[in-house]
């Protein structure tokens, strides 16, 4: 019996020791791996377009298996909103070889766990099990990728389950309501304008046949990426996966079809972007969200806005927190800023909640003034270095589990088309200059084009 092996992630500690307090302003360094993280990934693309990435890690005799389907709510249209997510639920309801109820029984009965999530861009499935059950997982996943049953009776039951999920996440939560309204308002008229959870009427009426069609269109090997991390042999894993998935037919002209669907609407923000929305809620003090036009993932300006959002509203010592929460006369209970970059668009938003007796209208005005001022006063070398330090910790924190490594690599593969993107990610952030940040701040934040949403029991 062997003892636990050392994780096969070669971490270049010396580089890390030199990192942090002096962020380089040399754009040439943007290609260097300053994170110190180096993960040995083996890649194979099958003839049918399926991309497989494997990391051998024998720390414990277990593995995690992620399947990314590059389809999310942006491919839906009125009448079938919420279908990507409903389909995610139905993927656990049986396929041709492994019928109803078999999936969960085999995963949990073999000591494993599984789950899935859907976003605007992606649907992701994942399992973690003891290492000897890899073949079972591969077979289960290959079966449901090609032969999903969508049994009528369970389809109808799952529709109700999703409606309950919708109530829990959005209808009975002021925070949920404000987020849903923000996303729908910001992206109105674009593929991101339909919520991931879906409209109530669509969820009640979408037919099994429509979901079946959606499945056939998007659940194909050339629209999927598999990540396998754990105590496995990469070559054997490739063989095993090819045996189960190799004969699954790809969707023909997938890229053209996907583009055609998205191009129907395009990603232009609505011309009339400025408005105020008041929602009726139950919160005794107002919660708010100020949404501004953002940018899609992967653009340099997107990385610039990431840093800007962190400087403004990430942590207790952030700029806006100092101005409104931790100052002498606080008016807010909390505040945060986020740069949400999607595959084809983005939104920069600031949210929070007012303290008792603080006036919403007065605060809104102050916030807008403060955002304008922040472009000159908030952006400093020190503030940037703080953010870079926090990003490095955040990157490392997910890497102590197979599941964390799989997600880390999978996200980079689907969003940047390169699982190795992390090697230049931190350096890219480090190459951003104060001037660049100030310019982006003026361009994206010093604008009247914004959507201000509030919710409380007195609206």
């Amino acid at each position: 019996m062997r003892s636990c092996g050392v994780m096969k992630l070669s971490l270049l500690l010396l580089l890390i020791l030199n990192l942090g307090c002096s962020s380089s302003k040399n754009a040439d360094k943007a290609d260097q791996n300053t994170s110190g993280i180096s993960i040995d990934v083996k890649k194979k693309v099958l003839k049918n377009g399926l991309t497989i990435l494997v990391v051998e890690n024998d720390k414990l005799p277990i593995f995690s298996y992620y399947t990314y389907f590059q389809v999310g709510s942006k491919y839906e249209f009125p009448g079938i909103t919420g279908s990507s997510h409903l389909l995610e639920h139905m993927m656990f309801k049986g396929a041709k070889k492994y019928g109803e109820g078999e999936f969960d029984k085999l995963i949990e009965g073999n000591g494993g766990k599984n789950n899935a999530y859907t976003s605007n861009d992606l649907t992701v499935y994942f399992e973690s099990l003891p290492k000897e059950h890899l073949e079972v997982v591969v077979d289960l996943e290959a079966d449901r990728m090609q032969n999903l049953l969508l049994v009528k009776e369970s389809f109808e039951k799952e529709r109700n389950v999703v409606l309950e999920e919708r109530k829990m996440r959005y209808e009975n939560s002021d925070r949920g309501k404000i987020y849903l309204t923000m996303m729908k308002s910001v992206f109105k008229g674009t593929p991101y304008g339909s919520s991931v959870i879906g409209e109530i009427d669509d969820l009640k009426n979408v037919s099994r046949e429509e979901v079946q069609k959606y499945f056939k269109q998007y659940y194909s090997p050339n629209n999927a990426v598999i990540l396998l991390v754990g105590d496995v042999n990469a070559e054997k894993a490739f063989e095993m996966i090819e045996k189960s998935y190799g004969l699954i037919k790809p969707t023909e002209n997938l890229t053209i079809k996907k583009k055609a669907q998205l191009d129907k609407l395009g990603y232009q923000f609505k011309k009339d972007f400025s408005k105020k929305i008041k929602l009726k809620g139950t919160s005794p003090t107002p919660m708010f969200s100020l949404a501004l036009k953002g940018i899609k993932i992967g653009e340099r300006e997107g990385f610039v806005l990431d840093i800007l959002s962190s400087i403004l509203g990430d942590g207790e010592s952030s700029y806006l927190s100092e101005k409104f929460v931790n100052n002498r006369k606080p008016v807010l209970q909390s505040i945060y800023a986020a740069n949400y970059t999607l595959q084809d668009s983005g939104v920069f938003f600031i949210g929070g909640q007012l303290l008792e007796k603080a006036r919403l209208a007065t605060f809104e005005k102050k916030l807008r003034n403060e955002l304008h001022r922040s472009c000159q006063t908030a952006i400093t070398e020190r503030a940037m270095n703080k953010v870079i330090n926090q990003y490095l910790v955040s990157m490392l924190s997910g890497l102590d589990t197979n599941s964390g490594i799989a997600k880390f690599l999978g996200d980079r593969q689907v969003y940047y088309g390169d699982y190795n993107f992390y090697k230049k990610e931190l350096a890219l952030y480090q190459s951003i200059t104060v001037d660049e940040l100030k310019l982006a701040c003026q361009k994206y934040l010093m604008t009247d084009e914004s959507i201000f949403i509030s919710i409380w029991n007195k609206n």
Binding site: M1, R2, C4, V6, L11, L13, I16, G20, K59, L60, P61, I62, E108, G109, N110, G111, G112, K113, N114, S128, P130, K131, E132, E156, K157, E158, N160, V161, E164, E165, K167, M168, E171, N172, S173, D174, R175, T282, S283, P284, T285, G315, E316, S317, N326, P330, Q333, S334, Q353, L355, E356, R382, K386, N389, Q390, L392, V393, L399, D400, N402
Partner: protein, 453 residues
């Protein structure tokens, strides 16, 4: 196939044994016990400072004192302002915070090894010199009170808070560790100072560290800068003699709810905790509501489409524990949901088939192994083991204990912990449901949600 699975699981757990033997080291730093989980995989570290003092020590009318003391630790010292403290810690990318249970507390710090020294020097400085400035405390109280008032917008959280109070009433454990609005209003800098002083000088402390060899450099900092003395005061924990008997459903109306939150459960008494059988108790909760194949999930979601989520739990500290069920449903299905839960609990106490028994057992054994993967989570397990005075070798024995459990044992434990007649039931939702429940034959007591915040 069955034998192959068992064989591999045994290998897996055996490897976990080696992991513990090779990587967990117990040290003594001038009377303070230190547990070091050596982890060279990443250039990060975690430190958890354990105190055998939790929310039970908050005293009458001061519920929330320990939680507030930890959260205000960074609000100022004689040398630094709050702004300087949080700026310096956040600059280093440090994550820090407390976890307060009724029986004990921990303060945890984590970050990059290269920043460990300045970070821990600052943390020790906070423990040694925190002044809890009155002005900062005033602001914090205002923020916390707003957050508490806003709990009415989070039905799940509010239901769990109300249920804690009702199911643990008169046990000494009923107050939430965060306290109530009423108790928070009474907090002063002086009271926070006294609580910190108690932790520094009288509470029994232990230190848990995860990270590479460099973390041993913390010894001098903790001994010299924290200036702790090992305390000698053993915590006095209340004895919980019997669970509350409540024949009515406790109904908590909230405005604008189109979904009912349901909590069902009871306290696990001191005797029941001390009888052991922890694996069996965990198994009973897992069998009922521990995954997608569990009885409740299958009945309520898969078979009936009544809910999105249904779970059961059984957890213990040293002198008490809690077992129960947590779920929700749309308003019109509340009676059907309750009847379905009742049927699952009653049936499981008498009729369990071999197939579902074996599946749940294998599931729990496998998940136990998966739970050992994250070293940060593993460290938290070690803290809990020490608190309840269990030897780490018990980690090895879980599989063995599970293998010894038979169907009749599981049925008996479900009958004991989840006996329908002995559960406290709390529902939070639209007040119209009171009529519906009464019409269905349930006795209902109405309780204002403000009572719980």
């Amino acid at each position: 196939m069955k034998y192959i699975i068992t064989y591999f699981l045994l290998i897996s757990i055996a490897q976990a044994n080696n992991y513990l033997d090779e990587n967990v080291k117990k040290l003594d730093w001038k009377g303070i016990d230190v547990v070091w989980l050596e982890d060279n995989a990443l250039p990060t570290y975690d430190v958890s400072l354990y105190f055998n003092a939790g929310a039970l020590g908050d005293g009458q009318n001061h519920a929330g004192l320990t939680e507030l003391m930890f959260s205000e630790l960074s609000s100022g010292t004689h040398r630094y302002t709050k702004k300087e403290i949080i700026e310096s810690l956040e600059y280093l990318g440090v994550s820090y915070g407390s976890h307060v249970t009724h029986e004990y507390s921990t303060f945890s710090v984590g970050g990059l090894v290269k920043n460990m020294v300045p970070t821990m020097k600052m943390v020790c400085h906070l423990f040694d010199d925190a002044t809890f400035p009155a002005k900062e405390l005033k602001h914090t109280k205002r923020r916390v009170l707003t957050a508490m008032d806003s709990m009415v917008t989070n039905h799940s959280k509010l239901a769990s808070r109300a249920f804690r109070y009702e199911s643990l009433k008169n046990t000494g454990f009923e107050s939430p560790t965060l306290g109530y609005k009423k108790s928070l209003k009474k907090m002063t800098s002086n009271k926070l100072q006294k609580r910190l002083k108690y932790l520094n000088s009288k509470a029994i402390k232990r230190i848990y560290i995860r990270g590479p060899k460099e973390v041993m450099g913390l010894k001098n900092i903790i001994l010299n800068d924290c200036r702790w003395r090992q305390g000698q005061v053993a915590s006095k924990l209340p004895i919980v003699k019997k669970p509350r008997v409540e024949k009515s459903i406790i109904f908590v109306p909230v405005p604008g709810a189109n979904q009912a939150q349901v909590r069902i459960g009871r306290v696990i008494t001191t005797d029941e905790v001390q009888m052991g059988k922890d694996a069996l108790k965990t198994f009973s909760a897992n069998f009922l509501g521990g995954g997608f194949t569990s009885r409740l999930f299958q009945k309520l979601r898969v078979e009936k489409g009544l809910t999105y989520s249904a779970s059961a739990y059984s957890s213990e500290q040293k002198n008490y524990g809690r077992s129960g069920v947590s779920t929700f449903t749309r308003n019109e299905k509340i009676v059907e949901l309750l009847e379905s839960i009742k049927k699952v609990l009653v049936d499981a106490a008498t009729k369990i088939g071999t197939e579902s028994f074996t599946l749940s057992k294998k599931n729990l054994k496998g998940n136990y192994l998966l739970g050992l993967e994250s070293t940060s989570d593993f460290l938290q397990n070690l803290i809990h083991f020490d608190h309840i005075e269990k030897d780490y070798s018990e980690i090895y024995q879980f599989t063995k204990k599970m293998d010894a459990i038979e169907i009749k044992n599981l049925q008996a434990m479900i009958a004991q912990l989840f006996d329908w007649k002995k559960q406290v039931i709390l529902i939070l939702g639209d007040k119209k449901l009171v009529k519906v429940l009464r019409k269905a034959g349930y006795k209902v007591k109405i309780s204002n949600y403000k009572k719980y915040i």
